[in-house]
């Protein structure tokens, strides 16, 4: 079976890879580009652990084919920190201990950043609905929500 050549942008870098037509964007990110931040939880778009943005649109990378990434711009959790300095959301998640096992965390960070980029002042309900597709089996969500509300407030003050 012939492979498909894909040129795309990941976290601002031009990248190329060869993929099988059946391989998902998640497979390509993890296995070809070695960006293992996005996780496979369910593989069916239910859990959100593989969340990335595709041309600024939040998606489950398990429900996107690698071939569909041609000419697109993708952002993953690896692009959030600038060098050694963590993104404010990442910093706040640590302060609040808003994670335990950490499998859902990259997806939740990417999804939350995508929300705050669109809406810097969300209500708690808006945050909870936005993240309804990001499942966490450890925290009970409360610390996650508090960390997000606090980060959003800080970012508003800073801007």
């Amino acid at each position: 079976m012939s492979k498909i050549h894909v040129s795309t942008t990941v976290n601002g870098d031009d990248v190329e890879f060869l993929c099988d037509p059946r391989e998902t964007l998640l497979d390509c990110l993890r296995d070809k580009l070695h960006l293992t931040g996005a996780k496979e939880g369910c593989g069916t778009g239910d859990c959100g652990a593989c969340s990335v943005t595709l041309d600024d649109r939040l998606v489950c990378s398990c429900l996107v084919l690698g071939a569909e990434a041609e000419g697109k711009s993708i952002s993953t959790v690896e692009g959030m920190a600038e060098g050694e300095s963590l993104h404010p959301l990442q910093q706040k998640f640590i302060e609040y201990a808003a994670l335990q096992c950490g499998v859902c965390t990259p997806g939740i960070l990417v999804a939350t950043k995508s929300l705050l980029d669109k809406n810097p002042d969300p209500t708690e309900s808006e945050v909870r609905y936005w993240l309804a597709g990001n499942l966490c089996r450890c925290t009970g969500y409360d610390k996650i929500i508090r960390a997000i509300m606090d980060t959003a407030a800080d970012l508003r003050e800073a801007s």
């Binding site: 996107v64 084919l65 929300l115």
Partner: protein
Amino acid sequence: MQYHTATSYENAVELAQAAKGTIRFLAGGTDVLVQLRGDFVTPDVLIDIKQIPGAADIQWLADGSWQIGAAVSGAQLYEHEALKTEWPGLVEAMNLIGSTQVQGRATLSGNLCNGSPAADSVPAMLAADVSVTIIGPDGQRQVPVGAIPRGPGQTTLKQGEVISSVNIPAQSATGADAYLRFIPRTEMDIAVVGCAVNLSLDGPEITAAKVAIGAVAPTARAVDSAANAIVGTTLDDAALTALADAVREACDPIDDKRGTIEYRTHVAGVLAQRAAKIAYQRARSKS
């Protein structure tokens, strides 16, 4: 599996005609990829229609009607303020499907073509009298949404036929729609019952109506008797009772762990009443 990117709908049809075996058109992929990955349906040929010019565009035409490209996502519909104002029920119905992530990809045409009896957007499209444009080996034709579903997981589309756009009529100046579904959770679930109501008014009186139900029959269906029960009324208690009775009469649901026949039938009547009240209120506030 071969993967093709179609450059036009005609090209997509040509690719489909040249293909052997199972074909799937790929728009949002939120059903097709789940079926592929779960080994339920492994297409021999997958034809991506997202790159076709206009496929991701929402157009508000001069006559007030809407043309929604086959690859327009739920998130795009939700972000379109004018569409939300004209057809709040239809946009709500689409927006109830899946998570934010799924909304970033899922499409009205895909929801229709997947053939689920519980598809949230389908009753809303039926109530809004939506049609779809189909391009196939025999050319182009326009058919009402109600002609597409054939049964659970099945449609009347023929091999090589693809939906190019979803066409929503102009909303009446005194009209509004609403959609409600029942699920055991608050988010991220599949409808146990869904109901859409679209109506127009002359003062307080309903002059035209359409009622459609989902998840309570092998396909979503419009219920003319339910619409007739409220036309010519001011949605008084007697009309609401007649509406619920007519909706329940039209139900033919399955019995499963998510809802018994009796329960689904009862809830369908309740949702119809509530959706009608919301649509009525929305229409009243326009005049």
